[in-house]
Amino acid sequence: MVTDSSFGQVISLSSKRLVQDVPRPGGGDAVLRDVISDAPFDAAITGFVLSCLPGSAAPVMWVSDRMSQRENGRLYGPALAAFGFKGKVLRVEVSHPRDVLWAMEEGAGCAGLAAVVGEIHGAPEVLSFTATKRLALRAEASGVPIWLIRTGEDGALSAARERWRLRSLPSAAHPYDPQAPGAPLWEAELFRARGRAPGVWRAGYDAGAAHSEDRLSLVSRSGDGSVAPDRQPATDVAG
C-alpha cells in the first residue's frame, strides 16, 4: 500500500488507515506546530494558521517580533473573519525574539487562551532546539495549542510535533470573473510529524465546513484531476 499522498490518495473502504492519515491541524489537540514558508513574504502561512485556529470565543494571543512585522507586514484585523476566525486577538508586539519566546511560554500556561501564535523572523540564537522543546512541553502540559511561524530561514532544528512548509498556489477559479483570482490555495507539506507519515497536500479554506475545526481542507496533491477517457477493452476492438 502506498502511503505517500503525492501519488494520490487511495481510500479503500476496507482499511481506514489512509483516511486517518490526513492530519487535522485545526483539530484542537494542544501541541506545538511550526510553520515555515518556502518563499519570503508569503502570507500563505497566515491564512493556513488562521484556518486552523479554534473557533471559540476565547482570545488568541498573537506575538510577533519587530523584524517579522517589518518583513511580513502586520496582521490585519478586518481580514480575519474571512478565514472563519471569530475570536479576539491579543496582540503582543515586542522587539526581540527572546521576549517573543517568553511571552509565548507565559501564554501557553494560561488556560483562558484559545491558542498562542508566535512569529519570529530569521534564525536568532535564542530560538534553539531547547527553546522549542520547552514550548512543546508547555503546550502539552497546559492544553493550549501553540503555532510558531518562522520566516526567513529554512530547516533549523525544532522540537515541534508537526512541522509544516507552506507555499502559495495559483488560486481557484473565481466563480464570476475568469480574470480575477478566486479562493486562495496553498501547498502544505508536512515534512516532519510525530506518529504520522509526512505528505504533501493542497490546502485551502473551506467556508462551508460543518464544524469550525474542519475549516482547513486538505486535498491530496494530485487533486481530482481530469477524468480519464474511456478505453474500450482490446478484445472488443479485435472482435
Partner: protein
Amino acid sequence: MDRWRRIVSQQRTLPDDTVPVILAAPGSHGPVVHALSAAAKALGIELGARVVDVQAIHPDLHVENADPAGDLKLLDRVALWARRWCPWTVRDAHDGIVMDVTGAAHLFGGEAAMLRDMATRFRMQGLSARLAMAPTRGAAQMLARFGPAGAVCGADDVAAAVAPLPVAALRLEVETVRLLHRLGLKTLGLLMEVPRVALMRRFDRLAADRNPLVLLDRALGRAADPLNAPPEGQRWLARARLAEPVIDPVPHLDGLAEDLCAQMAGAEQGARQLRLTIYRVDGEWRSRDVALAQPSREPAHLLRLLTGKLEGIDPGFGFDLLTLEALRAEPLALHQDPLDGARDAARDVAGLLDRLSARLGPQKISWSTWTESHLPERVEGRVPALAGKAEAAPVLLRDRPVRVLMPPEEIAVLYAVPEGPPARFSWRRVSYLSTRHEGPERIAPEWWQDRPGTRLRDYYKVEVQGGRRFWLYREGILGDGRGGDPRWFLHGVFA
C-alpha cells in the same frame, strides 16, 4: 516657587540665590509673572506683570514655566500632611491651607508654640509659609496673607486685629474693591464703621461669598463659617522595618504582600496598582510600579509581578525600610471557584495581561479598536490591554489582505498597461509577472481629515505567476492636478 526650587535642586541645576528667577504662566496677553524669587522681588518685579516687559527691563532674568496644576496637587497633599496637627484641614483657594486647631493647640504646648512648630516643620520641608491663627476662619486667612507674620489673634480682639487690613483681604471681586475704594472705604476698620443698612442696600445683589458684609460677618464670627474637610483617603500600605540594612528585597516581599492582601481582604478591596519602595540608608529611595488588569489580592500573583520588576532597582549600600502600597484599589468581593474544578478563564487572562505588561511594558500588549473609515490603515487601532477592552471586529464585505505593510512600500513598475495594474513589477528587488487581477476598488481620500492635495487610490488584487496574491494601489490618476505621474504601492499581501 518652593516646589520649583525643590524640583530643580533634585536635578542639581539650581541657579545661585543672587540670580533673579521668575515663573511665567499664560495670561490673556502673553505670559505673566506667576511667582518670583527673593532676588527678583528685590529688583521690584511685581506679580502679574507681563514677562516681556519685565525681561526688557531686566535682560538677565531667569524665566521658567510655572505649573499651577502641579502646585494645586502639592497643596492638596500638604493639606493632608498638615493633619499631623489637627484633624480638620482643607486646601484654601489656590494658595493656602486652613486648619481648624480647636482643641488641638494644647497638645503642642499652646497656640504660639504650635505656630512655631508649624513654621519649623514647613521650613524643614523646604516650603516657606506665612502663618496666622485667629478665632474665625475668615480672620485667619486674612491675617495670614495681609497681617504680620505669625500673628496670633485672641477671641476678643478679632475686630481690632483685622481693622487695619485693606478691603481686598476679604477676597472680593475687583469691581467691588474699586467701588469701596471710591467710597473711601479702604480698610476693614472703615468698613465696619459705616452703617450696615446703607451698605446692605448697595451690595444686596452680590452672592454671599462675594458680599463684603457677609464676608466681614463671617470673619468677625457673627455668621457661621464651618470647615468642610475632605475625608482622608484610605491607604493600603504594608511596611517592613529591618534591623540591619540589606541588599536583597526578595525575602521580605512575601510578608509584605501577605500583610497588604490581609488588609485589603478585610475591606473587600483588590489592588489595581502597586508601588514597592525601598528606603536606602543614604536617605535615597527607589520605587517600582506595577499595574493590574483586574483587582487582585492574591499574594502569589502580586509577588510574581513584583519579582519581575526588581532587576534594575539599585539598593546602594542597603536599605532598612520597605513599603508596599496599593496606589489604586477597587472593590473585590470574595470569589468562589467553580466546584467542578474548572478555572476562571477571564481571571486567567487578566493575570496573563498583568505579567506581560509588567515585564514588556503596557504599550506592547494591545487589543484592537475599530474606527469606521474607508482607508485601510485607519480601520484598526490599538488600545493597551490594561486600559481597554476587546471589541468584536466589524464585518467587512470587501476582500482585505491578511497582512498589511505600514507604511505601504513603493514598487517599481517594469511593464505598464494603460488600464489595470502593471503587468510586470518589482518589489523588494524581486520581479513579478502578474497573471490575474481584480479591481479597481477606488478609495477616495477622507476630505474631513486628510490634507488638501491627497490623492485617491485605486486598489487592485493581483495574482502573480507562482500563485502569490498582492494588494497594489495606484496613488492618483494621470492629470488629476495633484502631482506628477501616479505612483504604485504595495499595501498588503493576501493569503
